[in-house]
Each structure stands twice: as structure tokens, then as C-alpha cells.
């Protein structure tokens, strides 16, 4: 198995990349650049999952977040008329600062206050069978709820983007 030193080095490199990219998401003036840094952040988080031996979560993170969500956000930006204005013109700067400081405080408090127990359990083996059984036995309800949610979102998107037929508009 891998030596401890290697894991530590990998963890620090990945964490530094992830944090710097996450900061750049907030700092970048150009929204498209922000999305690209966000995609890099997702890839960095996927790397941390690999360090934790969670291969399946890492691969799905790249597939869904870096691949699908990144493309989705670029489309959302390009379809938004005011997307090219500067972030500085907003009036919500002070409340946003307060809110993010509060969120940071809560996360730091939780991280420091929790007793991080080290589990002896082996890593989850991400074979097709064990994944299928996990989805369809203990986690069947969240799995189904998620699919219903996605279907609702899809119907909503169709309703929003559908043009009215000509004859209905005239009436």
C-alpha cells in the first residue's frame, strides 16, 4: 500500500490547489474565468477523494461536477444578459461579507469541535454489484426522491423555455 509520506504530500498539493482555485472563483472578475476555476476546484476535490480511497465518488465528482455542472454554468452565464458586468457594482457587498464570515465561523467551529474518530472499516468496494445493492436497498428512498426531483426540474425547464404556439398567443 502507499506510504504515509506520499499521501501527506498528495493531500497538501491537492488542498493547496483546491483552496487557491476556490479563492480565484471569488476573485475573478470575468464570470467565465470563475466557472473555469470552479471546475478546477471540483477536480481538486476529486483528487482528495482519491487520496481517501473513495474512487467511485472521485470519478463521479469529475463526471457530474467538472463535466456536467461546469458546462451547465457556462450556458447559464451566456444566457444571462447582465453576465458581463463587474461584480463590484452590486449593493450586496457588505451583507455578503457578513454572511460568508458567519458561514466560515460555523465551519471552523464544527471542524474544531468535532472529535474526528478514525474508522477501522475497510474502504467501500465500488464494484457494480455493491453499488447497485446500496442504491436499491438501503438508499432506495433518496435515490427515488432524487430522480423525481430531477424530473420536476426537467419539466420546469421545458415549461420555462417553451414558446407559446402562434394561435394561442393571438387569442
Amino acid at each position: 500500500m502507499i506510504d504515509d509520506a506520499g499521501i501527506v504530500v498528495a493531500f497538501w498539493i491537492l488542498s493547496a490547489t483546491t483552496v487557491i482555485c476556490a479563492l480565484m472563483v471569488a476573485a475573478a472578475r470575468n464570470l467565465i474565468h470563475a466557472v473555469l476555476f470552479l471546475a478546477l476546484t471540483f477536480v481538486g476535490v476529486a483528487g482528495i477523494y482519491i487520496v481517501l480511497s473513495a474512487d467511485f465518488v472521485a470519478v463521479v465528482q469529475v463526471l457530474i461536477y467538472a463535466g456536467a455542472v461546469g458546462v451547465l454554468m457556462t450556458f447559464a452565464i451566456m444566457l444571462t444578459p447582465g453576465a458581463d458586468r463587474l461584480n463590484s457594482s452590486t449593493v450586496f457587498q457588505a451583507p455578503a461579507l457578513v454572511l460568508s464570515a458567519l458561514v466560515l465561523a460555523v465551519i471552523v467551529f464544527v471542524a474544531l469541535d468535532t472529535e474526528w474518530a478514525i474508522s477501522d472499516r475497510q474502504a467501500f468496494s465500488a464494484t457494480a454489484r455493491s453499488l447497485g445493492e446500496a442504491f436499491l436497498k438501503p438508499y432506495i428512498v433518496p435515490f427515488e426522491v432524487a430522480s423525481v426531483l430531477l424530473a420536476a426540474a426537467m419539466i420546469g425547464a421545458i415549461v420555462l423555455s417553451r414558446e407559446e404556439p402562434e394561435d394561442e398567443r393571438a387569442a
Binding site: I2, V62, A66
Partner: protein, 440 residues
Amino acid sequence: MIGALLAAPTALVTDNWWDIRDLSNLSGAILDLIEDAGGPGWLTYVVGALLGTLGIVSFIGGVAIINIWIERRVVGRMQSRLGPNRVGPFGLLQPVADAIKLMQKEVLQPRVADGLVFTVAPIAFTVPGIALLAVIPWGRNMVLADLDVGIVFLFAMSSLAALAVFIGGYGSNNKYALFGSMRVIAMLVTYEIPIVLSLLGVVMFAGSMNLNQIVLFQADNWLFLIMLQPLAFLIYFLSSSAELNRTPADLAEAESEIAGGYHVEYSGMKFGLYYAAELINAVAVSTIIATVFLGGWWLYKIDEIVPGWMIVIGKIYAVYFVFIWTRGTLPRFRIDQLLAFAWKWMTPMAIINILLVAGEVVLWEETGWSAGLLLPLYIAINGAMTAVLIVAWVRVMAPKFQRYPDRPRMYDGIDVPSLPAPASIGPTAPGAAPARRATV
């Protein structure tokens, strides 16, 4: 885990380090040497990863050079031309000359381009195609990353290409480039669904997402998965040729419409990288098909004589030839045709295929009948179902052929000027030509 180059000896080859019939012997020997010398664990790990990466990258480099020549010669032959035949014997040095030309060219960058994004895009487009090859088994023990979730890794890598193409088009700050990249994204997002669904059938039969396990399933049951899953193979082949942007579906770079698409502003070696990435992606998809549907390094008894990696490369080129064949013979789709093809044909067929496979796998597991009895039966059933489904779907779904379409297909709001009556075509008099609605 990633980077674990396995080094166990096999029955076929000796485990001498110089035995190139299984290249994992050599890397295993190097890794053992490091461990014996008391090197730390992470060093073994890093060297193992580097050795495997070196192998894959050098393979890809050679392939990208040779395949330019192969592709141009084969397409030339199919179109009754000669192809490149001037530089070197049989024109073999043509790719080298092309590469020298590309490297000498000035790398232009538009003044209004988004500099960093413009530079990163070709690299980000090339890397996933190479990274994808890390999980491919080249022999019984020759696999760089023996991931349990290998198939999902393939999907993840191919989904990264969408963002890379988009930033290439966006960074160029050119209308045509953005059009081209939008078309690519529309195609990638659409064809991702049939691709995933078609490989799901394979995963259900093999019972594993590990690519080496899928090859072992085929070796154990003495068949190729293309026999069990002909419909999935067709869907995967057609969808991936759309995802690769190759000629039946290369409307992302449709020269006659949008002047070359997402790489219209690129020149020099940046363009060269896009060009190489297209070849690399084609080889990568051929490799996936060779591994998943055609048995990878296993070939009946022949893999006991011939090294596994040679069999894999042979199968890759067999699949690649079919890709060249479709490129050389088929005309280009229109964008609405291509997207409708995915939604109305591929996706429903893939879902029906999955239902069928699920029933068969459950029957196999619940009854416990022997594979020797059931699998030939499944081969017959699935082959028949493939033929029936394709014929039935064509009967039901195909639009009627119209020499003169009576309405614009893409968008209803366009004024289509009425064409002059087709006087010269057909036996009817000019006045009796079929009436067409000019506007909708």
C-alpha cells in the same frame, strides 16, 4: 488504486525482465529493484506511475504520427485518389513533414482573444483522451490503473472534453468558433446519454465496471461481448463517432458553414494539438470498443502465443479502420438530424436494450442454468431483437422522403422563399408541380 502496476507472473510468459511479451515484467523488475534497495513506498508508487504513463504517452505519440498517414491513405484509396505519396517511401514521411511545417508556423493569437483561456484550451482538450487510456488493460497484468470504476472513469474523461472545447471557442472571441463549440457541446451532451446506456448493458452482463474484469468475463465465457450486445455496440459506435466529431457528424467544423468551427483562430502547434487530439480521441474510442466489445487482450487460444498488447493494438486498428471507412464514405449530417437521431432513435433503443439485458441477467442468476446453455440462447435472442428493433423503428419513426420539403425543418419562423417550379424534373408539366407552402 491508481498507479499500481501489477507484476505477478503469468502462465504464458516467463517472468524474466527482458521478456517483452508481457511488458509488466520490466516495470515490475524495476519496482522490485527500488524496493530491494530500501526505497520508500512512495518512490515505488511514483516510479510505477511514471513508467506506465511513459508507455502510454509514447504509444499515443507514435500512433498520432502514424495514423495521419494511415487515415489519409485509406480515405484516398476509398475515394479513388492516391493520398500522400511524395515524401519518403509510400509517402510515409508525410506526417513528419506536416509536423515540421506546423511547428515552424507562427502561433497567432487574436488581439481580442482571452489569452490564458485561449492557450489552455487545446491542452485541456488533449489530456482527457490520453488519461482515458490509463484504465485500459493491455495484457493480463498490464494495466496502469486497475480501477474498480473503470467504465465510469471513461465517461468522466470524455465529459471533460466538452468544457475544453467550449473554452476554446469562447477564448477565441470569434463568432464562428463559438458556434462550433456550441455545436460540439450540444452533440456531446446529447450523445453522452446513449453512450452511457449502451455500456450499461455490457456492465450488467459482465457484472463489473473494471475493464480487466470485463475482458476476463469474455475470456471465461469464450465469446466477445459484441455477440451478446450487438445493439449496444451499434449504438456505442454511432454515438462515439458523433462525439469524436468525425465525418458523418463533423458539423462542429463544417468548413462550408462556419469556417472550421472551434479551432478557426488557432494556428501553428496549438492547432496541431487540436489535430492530434482528434486522432488521439479516435484511437481512445477504438481502444474502448476493442476492450469492451471485442475481448481486449483475449483472443480465443491465440493470446497464449501472441502477447496481449499486440492483440489489443491489432483490434484497435480493426475498429479504427471502420471509423476511417465511415469517414470516407458517409456524407455529413445536419445538426437537427444529428440531435434528433440521438433522442428519437439511440436513446429509446438503448433503454429497450437495457430492459432486455436486465431480464436475461436476472433469469441467469435466479435459475442458475449453465452459461453454456444460456449464453448461446441470449446471443440468438439479442441478435434477432437487434434486427427487429432496427427494422421496426425505421418503419415507425422514419420521416417520409421529400424531394421538396414542404416546411422548413429547423425553425418555424423563417421565411423560406418559394422555389421555382421544378420544370426539368419528372414527367409532370410545370403547372402541375406540387404546391409548397412558402411560409409557415
